[in-house]
Structure formats: structure tokens, C-alpha cells
């Protein structure tokens, strides 16, 4: 028999067994499911398991409702439906009579279920079905893997080679992001576009809503100016008119004919508004330059039956072939499944969230079990009485079942409502993690609800009914309720408390570790200061400023105007800034070693002198460049400390010669040799938690090929956001058709980098609080019923001269034993759990003593409060009253 990972999900099999009558029906169904599962599992195990779950849930639902229908039909013949109705009514009345108990159970179930349903729904959307394309398993993406280990966008000639030489792809295309200026009646606007080539639309396999998608030939060199609109732009700009095809849109000053409208949620990146032929850029010199990355990536479809590993092997072969003719430093290809390309980064945080939510559900189940056990014990007297009065076993069980069903149903419904609310919070978190279109379309997952509901029902019925039935048996056997049953129940409940405490500690420790991680993230030395900095992008229109000089003059005059604004301490123009997600990768070439040795890739910043001031980048040696370093003076470069250490370890880098960019000479490009004049601190440009590649800064006036589109960065003493309108006005005054876009404060930019950590932390704080509250309620419940049963003993002790404190201590001690045992187990387990989230922690170890002590303390405090409340009440009642009562 097949089992484990290759067999169908065992839990789903159980679900079927639970609801489908055993015998031929069950065997036939499970056999059919398994047979069909095996056909699917070889194609895609994950999908097959998901399919199996859906089929199993469907079968459980069908057979379950069939059983209910038959039961109703059966009871209709007798009077038992009335019996059920009466029991359900009684159950409701019981709830109203004991609102605290019922609220405890319902709320506990609701919290556990709500958290899980919501997290699972997000997980399902993001991890299992994220791609809105035809047959998404076959889609892959690639970019260049430099011999330096860094990834870069793909150079066009390399793309052409990959396309021709690879044997594993059915179709290959290229996609390149570009922001474009779109003119309209209300002035210019800058929109995100994608330039695409070859079989792009065909390989994704989705049909347009309106019009006809361009063929590969219509996207290549010599392409007409056509544009394909996304659904969003079609709605917002064209009011979803069907006759939009054939109209024109003015992009970068040129009319483009609209040929098609894409279906909703087509672009993975939700900012994308349109697709243009990449062939329109065929006259760009970079088109045929193998050493320049063209800014795009490859989107391809594998031939049927080809695995990702086979595709990687084939690309490695292509790389080897190309290296034999082009040299050993020719870049390879980094190939990923499209799913991993877009959502690979969030697998881990989402799985943490699922783990956290599952822990909450476990705590909740333990809690409900404990509460119901207590209730069952309390009801033994009543049940014994009813038995004595002649009630049959069948009717007793029915009334208990009705109780459990009503509680579970109410809990489930409340959980569903809670999940809907939580989902809104969670999809915000998901949107923060992923700038992708689907993050907004997460909805409650039907299968998740079914499975969760079945679990809760099972727990409630098993825990609520079985002990009570046992109680009835005991009562019928004439055993006094005060002996036996109570003590065994107390131990079970004690164990449940221990389990709850252990699980809660685990959750609290994880929460603590994540809270510390985020605190550490905030205090990381990034090498720059983000306070008071405003950033925005500005594109100089090609039509009126055709050459480098006019572009530079316009940019400089805008910069000067901004620097003169009141409150502005400095303003700079640059090709990038930290976390701008602009990749300027160049080669760091030392004339003494290059080309004999490989050049390291360097992050190339072309900036005006004030850039260092704007971001408070520290000068460590030498000098920074100034306005005196112009196009016609000696070429200079400022490098960061890691570049200095890597290139000239132990030497003074000032005065050394290095090339970080190239200039045209005839038909060719040659390295521009620059003198190192200064060393600055390293700036984290890509990841808060990791250093970037080595860095070089050059005066923007001395940089060839930079830049028609620049970032304007401004430091102010006041609120940077308040400065944005003034900056916009200055740019508009300089040229009304020059748009300013991507306006942001540096604070917000850095905050976004922490969004995933923050989102996970926030949710874990919620989980932690839930666990703490549920744990406390559980402890309270157990101790309350223990003390109730031992009030007599406490009363006697006090009457016989024991101090109230000692008497309370004695009873509370019983509960504390279980709490402490749970604590120890929890701490051990949480260091293990901490290790699983280690990759996500910043500057804190999984066994951080402060976190362990803090979590334990929080739990001990909550548990002590829960222990002492009922014990104190018992003491305060006074011995006389207690003794009188018995």
C-alpha cells in the first residue's frame, strides 16, 4: 500500500472514512480516489494532493448530508425529530443559563478557527494558485548569472543565443519594464509599462477582452507603434469602451495605436498598465551590445514533460557552448519557475504564519476540550438524576450531542465571521509582502472552512460526549459521583493545561523573537540616514532636449532651484538611491590586474556632489567630489570601504586608478580610467539585512550615458512630505511637460523594506496574545473547578487554623504543577521552533535568554492570576458557609 508523501493525504482519507459508510461504498470510493490520485500525482504532487482534498471534502459533504437527510426522513416517521428539537432548544437554554461557559467555548473555537481559515486562505491563493496564466507549471523565467555570482538583466544578444541554442523551450520571450510618459488632456503622466518580444502573449495563453494580441512578428524590430492596454487602464482611462481598438495613445510624444485589451489580473505586477513591442527599442545601441544588460528578463514555456532541472541542465550546456567562443567570463542563465520568481520570497514567512495559526488552533482545541470536560463532570449529577427518573441512554446521549453540536456550530459561525475580518487584515499584509495583482483578490477558502469545521466538530463531539457518556454509565452502575470519575478527569484536564501552556510558550517565544528582530532591523546601520529625505523621479523629454548638454543644464537648474527652497539643506540629482530598485551594475577594473583577472561587479552611482550630504554618507578617507569636478576635468571616483578593502587590501586607495564605466571611442567603448579621490562608508542598497555589492560614485557630469531620467533627492530640516508640492511646482515651471513621479519619503521607502518582517511580527503578536489569553482561560477553568470541588477542604483547613494564604497555596499548588511542567516542555520545544524561523531572525538567536525569560514570565503571570482568582474566592467565602452548604 502506498503511504507517506506518494500516497493520498492521510488526513483527507480519514475525513472520507469519517463520513462515508464503511463497507463497499467506502472501499469503492477510496479506491477510486486513490486510483485517480496516482494518475495525477506524477504530473504535479502538490496539485494532486490539493485535488484529493477537494474530492475528499466534497465526498464527506455529500455523504454527510445524505445521512442527515435519511435520518430526518427516518425520524419523521416517529416522534424523534421532536426529541431532537427539544434537545436543541434545551441546549440553547443551557447556553443562556451558563453564558460564561458557553462564551468561553464559542470564543475559543472562533479564535482558533478564524485565524486558521484566514491564514490558510491567503496561503492557498499565494502559494498554490498564484499565476493567472494557462498551464502555469510550464512557465519559467530567467535572467543572467554573472561569473561574479550576481544576477543581472539579460543582454539582448545573449537572449537571442539562448533562444536559438536551447532545446527545452516551447516558446521564449523577453519582457522589459519601462516607465513611460503618457500625454493626456490633464498634462503628462508617468505610467509603468512592459516592453515585450517574440511569443510573449502566446506563451502565457490568455485571450484579450477586446481586439487582437500582436503576433511575434509584430513585436520585433520594425514593429509599428501599437499598445496593448491592461484591464485596469482600459477601465480608468477609457471607461471600458468596446470601440477603443484603433484609437491612439500618446506615449513619449508619439501616437501609439491601441490594438487589444487584456483580461483582468493579467500582469503579475499590479502597477503595470500597458504592453508595448520591445522591437520599438531596436535602434538603441544596447540592443546589439553583449556587455550591456538590456534591462529585461526572459519569460519562457517549457516543452511538455521537461522538468525545471532538465531545463537548467540544458541552459548550462548552452552557457558552456557560448563560453567556448566568448570567453570564460561569459554569463550563464539563472532559471526559475515563474511561481518562485514572483512569490518565492514569501514562502517562508507565510509558512511561519501557518505554523503560528496552527498552534493557536491547537491551544484552542485543548482549551475547549478542557472546558467541556469540566462541564461534563459537572453534569454527571444531572445525568444520574435523569437516569434515575427513567431516561434511556439513547436520549441522554442525544441531548449531550445536541449540546456539543450547538456549541460547535455557534463557534464555527463566529469563527467564519472572524475569519472574514482577519482576512482583510491579512490581505493587507499579503499586499505588503507582494506587489502582485492577486494579493488583493484573496477570499475565504471553501475547503479551509470545511476542514476546520470538521476538526472543530470532531473535537467538540469527542470531548463533549464521550466523557459524559462514561459518566452516565457510571451513574447507571450506581457509583457515587464523588468517587473516581472526578479525579481521573482532573488529571486529564491538568495534562491539557500543561499542553496549552507548552504551546502558548512556543508561540510567545516566536513572537518575542520576531519583535526583537524588527527592533534590530530598525537600528541596523545602513550606512545612510533616511530622516528628512524626499525622493522623486524626473524624466527629461527627448523632443526638446535632444543632447546631453541640454539635459544636464535643465537638471542642474531644477536642482539649484530646489536647493534654494526654504528649509532645504541640500538637493542632489542621481541615477539611483538606496532601495530605489534601480540596478546600475558595472565592472570594477583595476588596470594592473584587468583583463587578466575577472573584474568584480560594482554598483555604479552617478550623482551631483550634494548626494553624500543628502544621505549623510560618511567620508572615511580623502575627499568627496565637488562642483569643480566637471566633464572637462580629470575623471574621479569615490569608492566605498568594501571596494577599497577588496581591491587594495592594506593599501591606501587614494590616488589609485580604476575604471567603473566606459566611454565611446569610434565604434567601440573603452574603459574610462578614473583616479580614486575618496573612500566612504558602505551603503546597504538592496537588503537591510545584508551588505550590497561594492560601490563606486562618480560626478554625474563626468558620466557618459547618464541620464535622461534621474532621481531628485532632497534633504530638509522639516517634514519631507510637505516639500513635495514645492518641488513639483519648480519642475513644472522648468518644463510643463516634464512629469515628476514616484514621490516618496526615504522613511517610507525603508519602512517598505521592513514590511514583510513587520507584517509577520504583527500577526504573531496577535497569535501570542490569543495564546496567552486562551492559556489563561484554560488554567482558570481547571483551577476554578478544582477549587469548587475542594471548597470543603479549604474551608476546613481555614477553620482548623491554617492561614488563608497557606490554604490557597495548597490548592493553587495543584494547578501550578501542571503549569510548570508545561512551561519546561514549552521552553524546550520553543528553542526547536525558534530554529525553524532562524532564517527570518535579525540579530537574535532562537535561544535568546531575554525572550525565553520574558515569555515564561508573561505566561506565569497570566497563569498565576488565573490560579489565584478562584482560590481566593473560596477562602473569602469563609469556612462556615462552605460547611453549611454540604
Amino acid at each position: 500500500m502506498t503511504k507517506g508523501r506518494n500516497g493520498p493525504p492521510r488526513l483527507a482519507v480519514r475525513l472520507v472514512k469519517l463520513f462515508v459508510p464503511p463497507g463497499m461504498t467506502q472501499d469503492g470510493l477510496l479506491g477510486d480516489l486513490e486510483e485517480r490520485f496516482h494518475v495525477r500525482v506524477s504530473a504535479n504532487p502538490r496539485r494532486a494532493r490539493w485535488w484529493y482534498w477537494r474530492e475528499a471534502a466534497g465526498a464527506a459533504g455529500r455523504h454527510g448530508s445524505e445521512a442527515v437527510r435519511e435520518a430526518v426522513a427516518h425520524y419523521r416517521e416517529g416522534d424523534s425529530v421532536d426529541g431532537w428539537m427539544r434537545d436543541v432548544k434545551l441546549a440553547f437554554r443551557g447556553i443562556l443559563r451558563r453564558p460564561a461557559f458557553a462564551t468561553g467555548v464559542i470564543l475559543t473555537l472562533a479564535l482558533g478557527m478564524g485565524a486558521n481559515t484566514a491564514v490558510f486562505s491567503v496561503l492557498h491563493t499565494v502559494l498554490l494558485e498564484p499565476l493567472p496564466y494557462d498551464d502555469p507549471q510550464g512557465l519559467v523565467m530567467a535572467d543572467q548569472l554573472q561569473t561574479t555570482g550576481f544576477r543581472a538583466s539579460v543582454a539582448m544578444p545573449n537572449y537571442q543565443d539562448w533562444r536559438e541554442r536551447s532545446r527545452v523551450f516551447e516558446a521564449v520571450s523577453m519582457e522589459k519594464p519601462e516607465t513611460v510618459r503618457v500625454d493626456g488632456r490633464e498634462g503628462a503622466e508617468v505610467l509603468e509599462s512592459r516592453l515585450v518580444l517574440d511569443d510573449f502573449f502566446q506563451l502565457l495563453g490568455r485571450d484579450p477582452v477586446v481586439g487582437r494580441l500582436p503576433t511575434p512578428a509584430e513585436l520585433g524590430p520594425g514593429a509599428e507603434r501599437v499598445v496593448v492596454l491592461t484591464y485596469g487602464l482600459w477601465q480608468s482611462r477609457f471607461g471600458s469602451r468596446d470601440d477603443v481598438v484603433g484609437e491612439t495613445l500618446t506615449i513619449e510624444g508619439e501616437p501609439h495605436r491601441i490594438v487589444a485589451v487584456l483580461p483582468p489580473a493579467f500582469a503579475m505586477d499590479r502597477d503595470v498598465t500597458m504592453y508595448l513591442p520591445l522591437g520599438l527599442r531596436a535602434d538603441d545601441p544596447a540592443w546589439s551590445d553583449r556587455s550591456t544588460s538590456f534591462g529585461g528578463w526572459v519569460v519562457a514555456r517549457l516543452r511538455p514533460g521537461v522538468s525545471l532541472d532538465e531545463a537548467r541542465a540544458d541552459m548550462a550546456r548552452v552557457t558552456e557552448e557560448m563560453r567556448s567562443s566568448l570567453g570564460a567570463d561569459h554569463p550563464g542563465a539563472a532559471l526559475f519557475s515563474m511561481r518562485d520568481w514572483y512569490v518565492g520570497d514569501v514562502d517562508t514567512p507565510l509558512l511561519f504564519l501557518m505554523g503560528g495559526a496552527a498552534l493557536v488552533l491547537l491551544v484552542a482545541c485543548a482549551n475547549v476540550a478542557s472546558l467541556l470536560l469540566g462541564r461534563a463532570e459537572e453534569r454527571q449529577g444531572e445525568l444520574a438524576l435523569r437516569t434515575a427518573l427513567g431516561a434511556g441512554r439513547r436520549s441522554l446521549v442525544r441531548s449531550l450531542l445536541a449540546d456539543a453540536l450547538v456549541l460547535a456550530t455557534l463557534g464555527g459561525l463566529a469563527g467564519l465571521a472572524l475569519a472574514a475580518g482577519a482576512l482583510r487584515l491579512l490581505s493587507d499584509a499579503a499586499a505588503a509582502m507582494l506587489p502582485l495583482a492577486f494579493a488583493e483578490s484573496v477570499s475565504i477558502d471553501g475547503a479551509a472552512v470545511l476542514v476546520m469545521f470538521a476538526t472543530v466538530l470532531l473535537v467538540t463531539v469527542v470531548v463533549g460526549v464521550i466523557p459524559a457518556v462514561r459518566g452516565v454509565k457510571a451513574a447507571r452502575a450506581g457509583v457515587s459521583r464523588s468517587i473516581g470519575a472526578g479525579r481521573g478527569g482532573a488529571r486529564t484536564r491538568g495534562i491539557l493545561v500543561g499542553v496549552e501552556v507548552a504551546l502558548s510558550v512556543m508561540l510567545l517565544v516566536c513572537t518575542g523573537l520576531l519583535v526583537r528582530s524588527v527592533a534590530n532591523l530598525q537600528s541596523i546601520d545602513t550606512g545612510f540616514s533616511s530622516e528628512g529625505v524626499l525622493v522623486q523621479r524626473m524624466s527629461v523629454p527627448r523632443e526638446r532636449y535632444p543632447d546631453r548638454l541640454s539635459v544636464a543644464q535643465l537638471q542642474e537648474s531644477v536642482r539649484e532651484e530646489i536647493a534654494r527652497l526654504p528649509g532645504v539643506s541640500s538637493a542632489a540629482v542621481s541615477n539611483l538611491y538606496p532601495f530605489s530598485r534601480t540596478n546600475w551594475e558595472m565592472l570594477f577594473r583595476d588596470p594592473e590586474r584587468w583583463p587578466a583577472e575577472d573584474a568584480e561587479s560594482v554598483l555604479f552611482t552617478a550623482a551631483s556632489p550634494a548626494y553624500f550630504d543628502v544621505f549623510s554618507i560618511r567620508l572615511l578617507r580623502g575627499r568627496l567630489f565637488t562642483d569643480a569636478d566637471r566633464a572637462d576635468t580629470e575623471p574621479v571616483v569615490v569608492i566605498d570601504e568594501t571596494a577599497a578593502e577588496r581591491a587594495w587590501p592594506g593599501e591606501d586607495p587614494i590616488g589609485k586608478i580604476v575604471a567603473v564605466d566606459d566611454v565611446p571611442e569610434g565604434d567601440d567603448f573603452v574603459p574610462l580610467w578614473r583616479t580614486v579621490i575618496g573612500v566612504v562608508s558602505h551603503v546597504r542598497n538592496y537588503e537591510l539585512t545584508e551588505p550590497s555589492r561594492i560601490e563606486a560614485y562618480v560626478p554625474i557630469d563626468q558620466s557618459y550615458g547618464c541620464c535622461r531620467t534621474v532621481w531628485l533627492t532632497v534633504r530638509t530640516e522639516g517634514d519631507p512630505a510637505a516639500l513635495a508640492p514645492a518641488v513639483r511646482r519648480i519642475v513644472r515651471d522648468a518644463d510643463p511637460e516634464m512629469p515628476v513621479y514616484r514621490v516618496d519619503t526615504m522613511r517610507a521607502v525603508v519602512d517598505r523594506e521592513m514590511a514583510v518582517h513587520r507584517a509577520v511580527q504583527a500577526l504573531f503578536v496577535v497569535f501570542g496574545i490569543l495564546a496567552l489569553a486562551l492559556g489563561a482561560v484554560g488554567v482558570y477553568g481547571v483551577v476554578a473547578s478544582l477549587t469548587r470541588r475542594r471548597r470543603q477542604e479549604i474551608g476546613l483547613r481555614v477553620a482548623l487554623g491554617s492561614t488563608p494564604a497557606a490554604a490557597v497555596g495548597h490548592v493553587a499548588g495543584q494547578g501550578i504543577r501542571w503549569v510548570l511542567a508545561g512551561l519546561v516542555v514549552g521552553i524546550v520545544a520553543s528553542t526547536l521552533a525558534g530554529r525553524t524561523i532562524e532564517s527570518f531572525l535579525v540579530g537574535v538567536r532562537p535561544w535568546d535568554p531575554a525572550v525565553l525569560v520574558g515569555a515564561s514570565l508573561a505566561l506565569v503571570l497570566a497563569a498565576s492570576a488565573a490560579l489565584l482568582l478562584p482560590a481566593r474566592r473560596a477562602v473569602r467565602e469563609g469556612p462556615a458557609e462552605v460547611l453549611k452548604e454540604e
Binding site: L29, A60, R62
Partner: protein
């Protein structure tokens, strides 16, 4: 309710008959999906088989356990004589209702 079968039940009866009046779950599903393009869940099929058997329209029996099925036997169905009668009646009823609708349906 009586003996008259629902739409899915009629499809199942027809599918079993098309397979030489001996077919088990996976075959029945393939037959229906293949001929009608309509996907049917295993749960729906299994409930319908129970109902058809209770109505006396089919008989089912276990046979041929298989390692591919986790060692479980197949549940084969065979349409009984009264089952065949019912299919015949259902066809006659539908044909009578469709009479004269060619102009509408073929348009």
C-alpha cells in the same frame, strides 16, 4: 420521489450500460466526462450509486482489488432489468418532449 432517476442518475445508468453493463467508479466518471464534458465528483457518484441501488435500479458488487487503489476492491455496478426499464421510460419521455423542437434546437 418514486423511482424516477435524476439527471446524474440517468447519466450513470447510461454510462454503465455503454460499458457493457459492468463498470466501476473511475470508468463511469471517464465515460460521463468523456461523452458530456461534465466533471463529476467521486463523492457525488458514490452517493448516487447508493441511491440507485436502494431504488433497485442497479446492483453493485466488489471485485478486483488493486495495489494502485491502496489494495481496495472496485465497486462494480450492473443495471438491473427494472433499471433498464427506467432508462427506457426516461428516454421515451424526453423524446416525446423533444418532438417538434428540431427547429428551435438546431437553430
Amino acid at each position: 420521489m418514486g423511482r424516477y432517476p435524476g439527471e446524474l442518475e440517468q447519466m450513470i445508468l447510461a454510462a454503465v450500460l455503454r460499458r457493457g453493463n459492468r463498470a466501476y467508479g473511475v470508468e463511469i466518471l471517464e465515460e460521463i466526462e468523456g461523452e458530456t464534458g461534465r466533471p463529476v465528483g467521486s463523492g457525488a457518484l458514490s452517493v448516487s450509486l447508493d441511491r440507485l441501488e436502494k431504488k433497485g435500479l442497479i446492483e453493485t458488487f466488489s471485485a478486483d482489488p488493486d495495489p494502485d487503489r491502496g489494495g481496495r476492491p472496485r465497486r462494480y455496478a450492473r443495471v438491473t432489468e427494472s433499471g433498464v426499464d427506467v432508462v427506457r421510460e426516461a428516454r421515451a419521455a424526453m423524446l416525446a418532449l423533444w418532438e417538434g423542437l428540431d427547429g428551435v434546437l438546431d437553430a
